[in-house]
Amino acid sequence: MVISKAEPLLDVQNLGIRFGGLKAVSDFNMTINQGELLGLIGPNGAGKTTIFNLLTGVYAPTEGQIIFTGKKISGLPPFKVTRKGISRTFQNIRLFKELSVLDNVKIAYHPLATHSIFSSILRLPSHFTNEKEMEEKAIGFLKIFGLDHLKDEKAKNLPYGGQRRLEIARALAAEPKLLLLDEPAAGMNPQETKELMELIAFIREKFNLTILLIEHDMKLVMGICERIFVLDHGQLIAQGLPEEIRKHPKVIEAYLGEEVGEDHA
């Protein structure tokens, strides 16, 4: 008995982009509902990161549109998309390396603070109250991620796993509704990957988040994602539950080549 069908959080309609003659992504459709944890997979060069760049406004789509919480966001610059509530991490970590761990998180609060340039230059009370609030919130965040004891360390001095966690913390500090994780487990060992999976499940619960992640680690994807989208040559070739994807002939073909692994169920 459906009373009223809830509006999807993100609705991607016929999205496409071409770079000159190359169609990097075409006819891509995807709906994400509030609270879901989804995976986006595909072979190298399939266009996964391009889709992330389209969703976050780094590229403007040449076709189709993106609707987020009922409003069109395609064509907006990245900083506006972030302010609408989509936040992301990067495949190759992009931290502010020379800044402290604390400042990295504080920067994410920047759009949420209100004190003006003049109040900072003249050191008006609003500067102090806002900066103090930013600092307290940022420290609270670092505590959640177990990074608070490293807050004065430069971001570049963190170990690899710590940098990945910090990048997720920074993305979350922007208070997104939808979090995009681009290969969060890349370069992690199995133990770190396991911790990361727990972390993702935890933050999703705690912040009532919707998460879309790109990942090559099948164990992670199959383990935590509720629905999976499979991309190949810029086109969606399959979507569904993990067990469906595992057996989907087109997916097997895309990953292993044609006519191989004929394990139909």
Partner: protein
Amino acid sequence: MKKSKSFFLMFGLAVVIYAVIQFLLYNGILNPFYENTLITILINIMLAVSLHLVIGITGQFSIGHAGFLAIGAYIAAIFTMKLQMPFIVALIAAGLAAAIAGLIVGIPSLRLRGDYLAIATLGFAEIIRIVFLNWDFVGGARGMMITRMTDWTIAFICTILTILVIANFTNSRHGRACISIREDEIAADAMGINTTYYKVIAFVLGSFFAGIAGGLYSHNFYIIQPGNFGFLKSFDILIFVVLGGLGSMSGAVISAILLTIISTFLQEYSETRMIIYSLVLIIVMLYRPQGLMGTKEITQLFQKKKSFKGGKQYGHFES
């Protein structure tokens, strides 16, 4: 609490420096030649600190700072000499004119990155110089005669204001936004920072203080000529910032002081002056490629020592 303490410390230091030098000048222990050198040092500090905001903090490689200096110098001179306005009004007008020029140049050219921005700003500075060169109202190539109005007090006040404003800007969410652009522009954008806005703001603020420095500069000599504002002047300012350490304001101040003193005292040996000056630069860059101060500030050096004494783990108490 700690930050306001260091603020009052710095303020006290500034007052003491001012009082001591004012006393020496008043009693004639320092002759007018030294006063002139001191003013040149202060002007160079203003230029170095204002360019530091653009290059060191925001990471935008602008090498046309002499253009803003020229605008400030000429606008202030026009206000005092042609319009008979008070010097203070002229200085403010000089700052505003340079800031407006910064806005006009900044909005299109800050879309460019790295070398392209450098070339665009260099071109801008040359255009400004050529405009003044061909403008008969301000004397063209012959230059413009100016009454000397800059004294040690006003130069000192302007310098302190410049340092204070830029330091306060840097140590706030706005400064952090600028630093994040320097560190990684794509990530800054993805964190919701309007990168174009902050690049332009930093550029305009830097231009404003360069303009005021220009006003002081033109009234420190009896004549200004377009030749004073060639690209070599831009490079002089750039050298202050790079030599001091990109991202360190105290570095920019220290190198502006040192290099001005070196070049002033080398004026007696005019044949070898440029050779010695260049050698100093080469040696510093060979032995400290990150600049005199790296990215650190003087105040940080003191804080570091304290936290080392207490042991590293326990250094995180005060927040």
